[in-house]
Every structure is written in structure tokens, then in C-alpha cells.
Symmetry: C2
Subunit: 329 residues, 2 copies
């Protein structure tokens, strides 16, 4: 690791840990570590501790950075680097960019963690190089990030990419946290798939899902995918319902956005090719033929590193090495 | 009109006429006119005739331009200014940018006409100033243009904005020109609304729609809107079906894109506030609450000028000669 190398810090703030990486201009992680998220005093010490940790590592390794990118959950005023609200962390109207710039003496850019995960997969993951990419996270909810023309799409007040709230069940859908009924995440998130599985077993009381319920007292999304893969008809029926809704929503987004690639991440994506093959099958039913044919549907590959890599991508792009002098003046 | 003014040419190529305007840096049309589209020899003379017409006007008026923007129908390689295919005009793999730059001696930028209509409404129409805008044209088909972060979204191979092919009728939909069944434009375009009206009257054989059918031998979208406005229950039912599909598709797009404003244009938009009120009602049912509340749904106001104004917007933005002079003044 030569001293002449130009590095940026990628920082991914979560409710439990702050992930930190020093990343070169090629997007390769040179060093990475994490510190606990200090929730005290509405998260007031998190950036101080993060900056101190970065400065200690830089000193020890005789390295320097020329910029930093930060991903945070919640609603963010991206232009000004202000966290409007991040419930998991405790921040409210928090001037993150201003504070971290004062601490690190380098320019800082801030964005939503889901958007930066999309940026990470675009830069170094399974969407490598795509200027037009849709990242989908199938976890507790359904999250998303949209990159179009090489840029993160934010929308008018930062809600772009909230694909989990695409209306999917038109009538009598389950209630969603957003206040609506029948959102995509009520049927295609890990939580949604588990809920559908539980409803199914409560009606049918048989087979693989009943066995899992008797053993565990509950049904997980993994149980549904495992059962479907093993050919259990009830698990298959639930899985098909979940992936049909996903295929429908993603096809309609792609009919309007025409990305090169969709990257599927989150816990449910552990379903692997079994999952993406099923999504692709439904996607092709609902997509404009040429879009159904050409849009790639890939599994995310960066896992927990997507956020820090995406943060570094945005920092590198926003503050290219050559711009440093201009900033410091 | 002072000679020092910095002007661009906005050009909108259609199957019948080429619309041309000289537009200042504020987006005000200083002169506009049109020439017939010369379809001879696969449209080989169109740009020559357009350039000659512009040069004659510039000479006569002692004016000059510093850039030109061109909107054309069909598939376009925007980066290189090549028309891949424009069936209405006859062009195929036509190097429009290269040819027009050689003729006019100013830089030229080319984009799809629907995208530029969105740009026009953004610049000087009912989306004035919005950085995030969705333009919808309800005509023979359903067209669209998406502007996000101030830029036209093109997608991977220029199909972004093709919102007419969002799947709307999930089962047993009507066949669409794109090869799929149940696309938005099979139910919410002028053609789609007329088709639904005709199907209705063939079943019900009564009321306003039957009267129109008896008189005219057919049913138009206008008949459906007029009947619905007058309270005819069959016309109301068809109208509600068409606007519910629109509200659903637009809400789901906005759940992902979060534009500030949706601009509704095309022949069906002559339905005015009666139409936008109905779309808004369904939009709010399917949108994330804060998006349902804050997204404006406006009627387009530029009519046939949207294309030339959008072409001038793109030219001014891409080649900001005029903007600089304005700034320096």
C-alpha cells in the first residue's frame, strides 16, 4: 500500500455498528473495520468517534484521505448533508456533513444507505459498470436504490427508490407500515413471505410448512424458499405469489426506467439462482419484450461491504482527487 | 429583439411538419414557423431543408444562433445524435447531429420528442422549474418522459419513459402494439378509452354512448369523457376504469421516482380538470401517503410548442453559451 495512493473513507452508519473502509480510486478496499454505534445523547458522539477512529488508523498506517462518503438510514437532505431523521441512530435535523468536515478536514458527501448500496454494487459488485441500475433489497422490508445516467435518483424530497411501497395487491392487501395496504413489501419482503407462509399453513395445515411450524412455532421466509425448492406444493404456491408480485413490480419499473441490470440483495437473496430464476420468469411476462430479453437480474455480491464501497464511490465521484486544492482554498 | 441576444434553434421533426423556433435564453419563443416534412428518399432532404429555412430567417432578421436542439420520434442514440429508427419520417441509422452541425455550423443535440416535450413543460410549461418531473401524453398511445435531478432519463437503450407499456390489466388484457397484453395504453390512451367505450355500448346498448354510436357509427374518447361528465353511468364506468389504471400506474411510478409534478398532455388532456381531478383521486389511493399529498398533477399548457421549447431547453443546457452571457450581464 503505497503512500502516494489516493484514498477515500467510506462510512456506513447502522443502528448497531459504524462500518468504515479506506478505499482506493479503483474501488478496492485497503482497510476495513467497524466501531459500535454510540446511541447516547441522540447519536451526538457517533461522528466524533468515527473521525477519531479513522484518524488513528491513518496515522498508524501513514495514510491520508482526500474525501469521505457517509451512508445513513432514514431521510436525508442530500444537497446539504443533513440527516432529517434517522430513527435507528437517533439523529434528527443533524448537520452530518458540516460536523464531519470540521473533524476530518476533507470534503464529505452524505446519502441514504440503500442508495449507496446500489452505488457499491454498480461500482464493484454485480452491476459493475452499469450506468443504469436498479438495486433491490429483500429483507425486513423491500428497499431500493435507482441509478440512472450514472447518478443516484433522489426525487423531489428524497423518497425515490422506495420501491417497497409500490402497490402490488390491488384489493384487500395487508396493512403496511407506510399506512397503505397491499404494498410490495407486504408480500415480497422476508417478513411478507413469512406472513404468507404462515397464512397458508393456517389454512392447509400440512406438508413442509406445517412441519416447520410444529418444530419452530413459526414460519420464516427461508422455510418457504426451502419448501418450494423441495417441491412442497403449499410452499411453492406462496413462493410463486411473492415472486410474481416482484416480477410484476420490477417489470413495470423497468418498462419506465430501462436499466441495464437489476441487483437483488438482502436476506431473501440467499435463495440464490432459485430466486432470481423465478423472478426472471415473471419479469419476462410483464416486461416490454426487448426489456424482458435484455435486462439482467443478478444477485448482489458485496454483502455488508456494499454500503462502504458505495459511500466511497460517491465520495470519489463528487470530489475527484484533482478537485482537492479547489476545496482547500 | 436585440441583435446581442443569444438564441438557440428548437426543432421538432414530425411525420407531417418540421416545427422550428428561435428561442432566447429565458425560454421565450422569438420566432416560430414550420415546413412540410419531405418524406422523399427516406427523409434524406429534411435536415437540408430545415437548415436552409433557418438560415434564411436568420439572415432576414439579422439574428444568429449558438446551438440547436432537435426532437425526433422513434429510437435515438442520444449520445451520438444518431436516429436508429424513426418510422414516421423514414430515417434509419441516420447521423442527424453530424449532418445538421455541418449545415448550421453550431453544436447540435438530439433527443426523443416525448422526452423533449417533458423538457419543454419543465422549462416553460406547467412543470416550470421542477427538477423532477413526469410528463404523460394521452393520445393515440400513452407516451412519457421522465426528468430526474434536472436531467432526462434515457435508460440503457433509450426506452426509459415508455410508460404506456406498464402492465395494467393483469389477466386477459387487450393486445398492445408492443406484443404484450394489458398495457396501460390499451386502456388509458384515447384509442384505449374509445375501445372500452365501444365494448361497453356493445354490451349495454343504451344511454349517451348508444346515442353517439348511432349518430357516428363509432365511439371516441371524447364521447366517453363527455358522457361521464354528463353523468351517463356507462360512460362513467368506462372513464373510471381508464383513470383508475392511470392513477395506479402513475402512483407506482411516483412511489419509486418521487417527482414534484406530473404533467398530463395529449388529446385526452382536453378533458381538463375533470380528468386531472379523477386521476388525482385514484393516484392518492395508491401512492405512499406523503407522495399522494405532495405530488402535483397538472395539465400540460404548451400544446404543440412543447417540442420546440424542449429542444431549445436541451440545446441551451448542453451548450450553455447563452447562459454564460446572461450570467455575465
Amino acid at each position: 500500500m503505497g503512500k502516494a495512493q489516493s484514498l477515500v473513507a467510506g462510512i456506513d452508519v447502522g443502528g448497531t455498528t459504524v462500518k468504515i473502509a479506506l478505499i482506493d480510486t479503483e474501488g478496492t478496499i485497503q482497510l476495513k473495520w467497524e466501531i459500535p454505534t454510540n446511541q447516547k445523547n441522540q447519536g451526538a458522539y457517533i461522528m466524533q468517534e468515527t473521525a477519531a477512529s479513522i484518524q488513528a488508523v491513518l496515522k498508524q498506517e501513514s495514510l491520508s484521505i482526500h474525501a469521505a462518503g457517509v451512508g445513513a438510514p432514514g431521510f436525508i437532505d442530500v444537497e446539504n448533508g443533513i440527516i432529517s431523521e434517522a430513527v435507528n441512530v437517533g439523529w434528527k435535523d443533524y448537520y452530518l456533513k458540516q460536523e464531519l468536515e470540521a473533524l476530518l478536514h476533507v470534503p464529505v458527501v452524505v446519502d441514504n444507505d440503500a442508495n449507496l448500496a446500489a452505488g457499491g454494487e454498480k461500482w464493484k459488485g454485480s452491476g459493475a459498470g452499469a450506468s443504469n441500475l436498479l438495486a433491490v433489497t429483500l429483507g425486513t422490508g423491500v428497499g431500493g436504490g435507482i441509478i440512472a445516467g450514472g447518478e443516484i435518483i433522489h426525487g423531489e424530497f428524497g423518497m425515490a427508490g422506495e420501491i417497497g411501497h409500490i402497490q402490488s395487491v390491488r384489493e384487500n392487501g395487508a396493512r403496511c407500515n407506510c399506512g397503505k395496504y397491499g404494498c410490495l413489501e407486504t408480500v415480497s419482503s422476508a417478513t411478507g413471505i413469512a406472513r404468507l407462509g404462515l397464512e397458508k399453513v393456517q389454512t392447509e395445515r400440512r406438508g413442509y410448512l406445517q412441519d416447520r411450524l410444529s418444530e419452530q412455532g413459526t414460519i420464516s421466509a427461508k422455510d418457504v424458499l426451502d419448501g418450494a425448492r423441495a417441491g412442497d406444493p403449499d410452499a411453492e404456491s406462496v413462493f410463486e405469489e411473492a415472486v410474481e408480485h416482484l416480477g410484476f413490480a420490477l417489470a413495470n419499473l423497468c418498462n419506465s426506467l430501462n436499466p441495464e441490470v437489476i441487483v437483488i440483495g438482502g436476506g431473501v437473496s440467499k435463495g440464490g439462482a432459485f430466486l432470481t430464476d423465478a423472478i426472471t420468469r415473471h419479469f419476462k411476462r410483464f416486461a416490454i419484450p426487448v426489456i424482458g430479453e435484455k435486462t439482467k437480474i443478478n444477485l448482489a455480491v458485496l454483502g455488508n461491504d456494499a454500503g462502504v464501497i458505495g459511500a466511497a464511490w460517491l465520495a470519489s465521484k463528487t470530489f475527484p482527487e484533482g478537485a482537492r486544492q479547489l476545496y482547500e482554498r
